[in-house]
């Protein structure tokens, strides 16, 4: 009976461990930015209270494709960091561009078509799991 109890506890422990939070990679990356693209909007990241995010954000357009470029980003790490394009800094309405590729470097996120950039005017670094803003850039 003792063995059974230990096995049950072990199974639960294994299950709970497999869902451990994983921080964002912090290895610096330097993704290639299309130099022929035109910059439509840009802004500078402002850190949220208690967090550190530095760097620039800009939306570039090449043909029919638009992308969000995070330039020289430096952010403190956290679990489940995502890149949002949002209507405000609370992410009341947002487009999820996916997990932040790295907390350091220059990175490019391809945007879906037909975004109303007048409405979705903030680039956010956002901890999705805990709903915590790390930094925001107002795109003008």
């Amino acid at each position: 009976m003792k063995t059974l109890s230990i096995l049950a506890l072990f199974a639960i422990a294994i299950w709970s461990c497999k869902n451990e939070d994983i921080n964002t990679p912090d290895t610096p990356i330097m993704e290639e930015v299309d130099t022929t693209a035109t910059t439509a909007q840009k802004g500078v990241f402002v850190s949220a209270p208690g967090e550190t995010v530095k760097g620039n954000a800009k939306i570039i357009t090449s043909g029919s494709t638009s992308s969000l470029v995070l330039e020289n980003l430096m952010a403190n790490n956290g679990p489940d960091l995502h890149v949002y394009l949002a209507t405000d800094t609370k992410a009341s309405n947002f487009i999820d561009l996916g997990a932040l590729k790295s907390t350091n470097g220059t990175q490019v996120y391809v945007l879906p078509n037909n975004i109303d950039f007048g409405n979705y005017k903030y680039a956010l670094i956002h901890c999705q799991q805990f709903n915590v803003l790390f930094g925001s850039a107002l795109l003008n």
Binding site: A8, S92, N93, Q128, Q129, F130
Partner: protein, 245 residues
């Protein structure tokens, strides 16, 4: 769930006539059970007390009531629109609703980031003893209350994403069949093997509803109905350890 209902109806049909014949001489079984289950994206632990009566001439049938505390947890679980049944099913007749088609075009998805629900419910239990060691059974939560962790969530509606800062477990649980249900409800099919006169182990298939309610934002259905309850349905498997007094 359709299979569950059929088995429940069949079991009730088989057991009800014998209830009247044998309740006077049936000595009740009092059992405490601890169960743990896992699914593709969630898990549960449950502690329950079962009070069953032995029924029938050979006392092979068990039926009774109990209480169960189920704790369900996971990460980034998707909860879909939890009724009203008139929006989510093709027809809404109680019990027959199991056979109704699902109107998924009216569903929105609430992705609860850190769900944890504790549901304390009254249960009904049915079982059949094949021999002195092996039995099979079914149980389901009837009514109770839930409490748990508030969590941020993301509501996906017609391709748009919105943040719900603090979704909470639906407080009141009640089994009303299909999408008439409300709250968090656990049900199990199991095979039980008695190791000795006190201890036994169970192999469990679990069908689990958990429900979260938004506080700040709602789904607006096509007819204007505002919906704030969202449900996750999980098929889990697990083990249980029972102690019979």
């Amino acid at each position: 769930m359709k299979t569950s209902l059929l088995l429940v109806c069949l079991s009730l049909w088989l057991t009800l006539p014998s209830l009247g014949q044998s309740t006077h001489d049936a000595s009740p079984l009092k059992v405490v059970d601890f169960a743990a289950t896992v699914g593709s994206a969630n898990g549960t632990v449950a502690l329950s007390y079962v009070h069953n009566w032995r029924l029938g001439k050979k006392k092979r049938i068990e039926a009774g009531i109990g209480a169960r505390l189920t704790t369900a947890f996971g990460k980034k679980l998707d909860y879909t629109t939890a009724g009203p049944a008139s929006l989510t099913r093709s027809f809404t007749t109680p019990f027959l609703i199991f056979f109704a088609g699902q109107q998924t075009e009216n569903w929105d998805t609430l992705s609860v980031q850190r769900p944890l629900v504790n549901a304390l419910n009254l249960t009904v239990n049915l079982g059949y003893n094949f021999n002195s060691r092996l039995s099979a059974g079914f149980n389901i939560d009837l009514i109770g209350a839930s409490f748990g962790r508030s969590s941020s969530a993301i509501l996906q509606s017609n391709g748009n994403l919105r943040t719900e800062p603090s979704a909470k477990p639906t407080v009141f649980n009640v089994l009303l069949t299909g999408d008439h249900d409300r709250g968090s409800l656990n049900s199990e099919f199991f095979l039980k093997y008695k190791i000795n006169s006190n201890w036994g182990v169970r192999a469990i298939y679990q069908f689990l509803f958990t429900e979260y309610q938004t506080q700040d934002i709602v789904q607006i259905a096509g007819d204007g109905t505002e919906i704030d309850r969202f449900r996750n349905k999980a098929n889990n498997f697990g083990l249980g350890l029972t102690y019979q007094f």
